[in-house]
Symmetry: C2
Subunit: 194 residues, 2 copies
């Protein structure tokens, strides 16, 4: 789904730096579409400030599948790599400062990096991390109730709850916004009671 070397593998920063001139800085207001569902991904996106979500449309309903924040990079992975229409839309949530690196430079960069010793290891490590993440999302749906998923989010990634509008979080948790509101009010009640 996405990849971001910089800030996670600082030893590669000199490579990245060579490509900084090709990055286009973009100051985008909230709710700016960076990639539209059905279009092909042409850029790697790096978030300097702000936040972004990936979502898709199901029968007119907006389903959020992931959130991204400062110092994270993303692209619609499959679309980017295989040059197929993106199954998701990417959109800013807050006013954001972004850097877009056109695909051809990313490819060039990857090519350069591939000669770097330990590069394959790094890529493996990264994809393994990603895999663990998606497995854990998936297992959570089998294992946990919506309330438990919310509490887990609250505990493990509170910044999401603090910064992201509630209806996006609801669809991310697989429930309606009304139900999420109910869960919150129930938890608040229990908290004050004891």
């Amino acid at each position: 789904m996405f990849f971001h070397f910089r800030n996670r593998f600082p030893q590669l920063n000199t490579y990245w730096d060579k490509y900084l001139p090709y990055q286009k800085r973009l100051e985008a207001p909230a709710r700016t579409v960076l990639l539209e569902e059905g279009k092909k991904s042409q850029h790697y996106i790096f978030i300097e400030k702000g936040c972004v979500r990936a979502y898709f449309d199901k029968d007119g309903e907006d389903k959020t599948m992931q959130f991204f924040f400062e110092n994270e990079g993303l692209s619609s992975f499959d679309s980017f790599v295989n040059n197929v229409p993106s199954p998701i839309t990417i959109e800013t949530i807050e006013p954001s400062v972004l850097y877009l690196l056109p695909k051809r430079y990313v490819m060039q960069l990857l090519n350069e990096l591939s000669t770097e010793p330990g590069f394959a290891q790094m890529v493996l490590q990264m994809t393994a991390q990603r895999q663990v993440h998606y497995i854990s999302e998936f297992v959570s749906f089998i294992r946990d109730t919506p309330e438990e998923r919310y509490q887990r989010l609250l505990k493990e990634r509170p910044h999401i709850i603090q910064r992201v509008p509630q209806h996006f979080i609801a669809s991310y948790l697989g429930i309606s916004k009304v139900h999420l509101s109910r869960i919150k009010s129930k938890l608040a009640k229990n908290k004050t009671r004891f």
Copy 2:
């Protein structure tokens, strides 16, 4: 979660063949535990005949997260690679014929393979496939109702429904076995009606 080169990358079969003598053939009856939750994974498991599931325990309830069939290989990936206790149990569903390759030989094999040109590509390709799989599982929970997930399973992986007891499938779909039974009976009714 698991990896299986053989049968997907036949050009590597000569490498595998060298390790055949180290594989232990195992004929296991149904419901044989191959790896217990909490233990460390010591073997790569290849399925010649039969089928296997990976599950974990949530408050006494048995939650199945994945099914495996003939010509697939698996291990509790994180446990195998990082030598930590496995979060899941691996158990046969049907009487099965399995081949177990001890971890040290797998490592040795991987080591040998790593000098093979194109090996990194292959590993990447494989992990990308896995990632796509788990993302699609995860997205399905956000996008689809339980009934839709069942129909998708019926359409895309009917062999699972044909061979696996229904209560395992229910927990895999994230619902109770009673509810899965209801979904089936509702679908059967609609089918005969029109």
